[in-house]
């Protein structure tokens, strides 16, 4: 399915930001915790490995930390439900705005092949970075940022500094 005859313009970014901030605040007020994304992906990886090779995940960190004690499915997890919501919310907004399109977003000079290779590579690197930093832009930058946690702000500074420094390497992909 492809929309895109006349997709609506994007929302004012500050208003969108406030919307996200309210969602984050609701998480704090209702649950006493913030948002996250990489944690849900960790649960998915642990569940997958546990299904294929259960001996490998027994008594082994980090796997066992995401698997619970076996009485309930590890996928019955706050972050897993939240990331499902993120996916649904994105779909809903895209459909309403006429922005749903089977496509590949990339810079004008990039090929589909290079874009997908860099997407996989960048994703791999981010997966490692997010595990080490105990979260990603949602779990550390947004959540910890709002809580004024030292580690989270170090993460933000590190990530943005590194992004700007590494940007010249990928100029051909984006500009």
């Amino acid at each position: 399915m492809t929309q895109g005859a006349s997709p609506r313009p994007y929302m004012n970014p500050y208003v969108a930001g406030v919307g996200i901030g309210v969602a984050l605040l609701l998480a704090f007020v209702i649950m006493g915790r913030g948002l996250g994304a990489s944690g849900a992906l960790s649960t998915v990886v642990a569940t997958g490995v546990n299904t294929v090779a259960p001996d490998h995940t027994t008594d082994r960190l980090p796997y066992e930390a995401y698997l619970g004690d076996g009485t309930v499915s590890p996928l019955k997890d706050w972050l897993v439900f939240e990331i499902l919501g993120i996916t649904l919310g994105g779909l809903l907004s895209a459909l309403l705005a006429g922005r749903f399109r089977a496509s590949i977003d990339k810079g004008p000079r990039a090929s589909n092949r290079s874009r997908l290779l860099f997407a996989f590579g960048g994703g791999t690197i981010m997966g490692i970075g997010a595990k080490l930093a105990r979260g990603c832009t949602s779990g550390q930058a947004l959540t910890g940022g709002a809580l004024l946690s030292v580690g989270s702000w170090l993460f933000i500074i590190g990530a943005f500094a590194a992004g700007y420094m590494a940007a010249p390497l990928f100029r051909r992909e984006w500009t």
Binding site: G32, V49, A102, G122, G127, S149
Partner: protein, 193 residues
């Protein structure tokens, strides 16, 4: 009002999963509204052509930060019962740097890649796969990374506590920094148009 509700036992575990879903929907909805499901817009941050990442993220942080402060101040929320993420200096810094490199390379982050994938973006789906792979690599390499992972633990500490500033003063500084950065961002974008 006794908040956080879950901390006061006002919410069961099944209800909290429903809350997760609904909050996630709102989160994903506004991410897509702001255009953060589009890798090209996200990457534009690092080439100073499209600073939407700064605007959306910093607005969200300031909104939630002000909400936490004032709801607490008004006695509606017990801030000490909100889980403060612990600080590990080296893992947070190094993890951040590694993440940042991957971010400008891939153009999406974990949350936004889900939004991209659900709006049909194949690169979002591929990036999601990359992240699962990266997490697998980390898990397998964990015995080697364990030392770094648990190092330089400062515990749960806010920037205010670290600098010896009153909490409210830091809130003020962050608001001013955010507004200042927004003004700067508008100027930069106007110049690179």
């Amino acid at each position: 009002m006794n908040a956080p509700f879950y901390e006061f036992g006002l919410l069961g575990d099944n209800a909290s999963l429903l809350v997760a879903l609904l909050i996630g929907i709102a989160f994903g909805f506004f991410l897509e509204r702001g255009g953060l499901g589009n890798a090209r817009k996200l990457a534009g941050q690092f080439y100073l052509t499209d600073l939407v990442v700064l605007k959306v993220m910093f607005s969200a942080i300031v909104t939630a930060m002000l909400g936490l402060f004032w709801l607490s101040k008004l006695g509606l929320l017990d801030l000490s019962r909100v889980y403060l993420l612990p600080t590990y200096v080296a893992p947070h810094l190094i993890g951040g740097v590694v993440f940042g490199v991957g971010f400008v390379m891939g153009g999406l982050c974990p949350g936004t890649s889900c939004v991209a994938a659900s709006s049909g973006r194949i690169d979002g789906l591929v990036l999601l796969g990359g992240m699962l792979f990266g997490i697998l690599l980390f898990n397998e390499a964990f015995p080697l990374l364990q030392g770094l992972y648990y190092s330089t633990e400062l515990g749960q500490v806010t920037v205010a506590e670290l600098l010896g500033l009153p909490h409210g003063v830091l809130v003020f500084i962050v608001v001013v920094a955010a507004l200042g950065s927004f003004v700067l961002a508008e100027r930069i974008e106007a110049r690179t148009k």
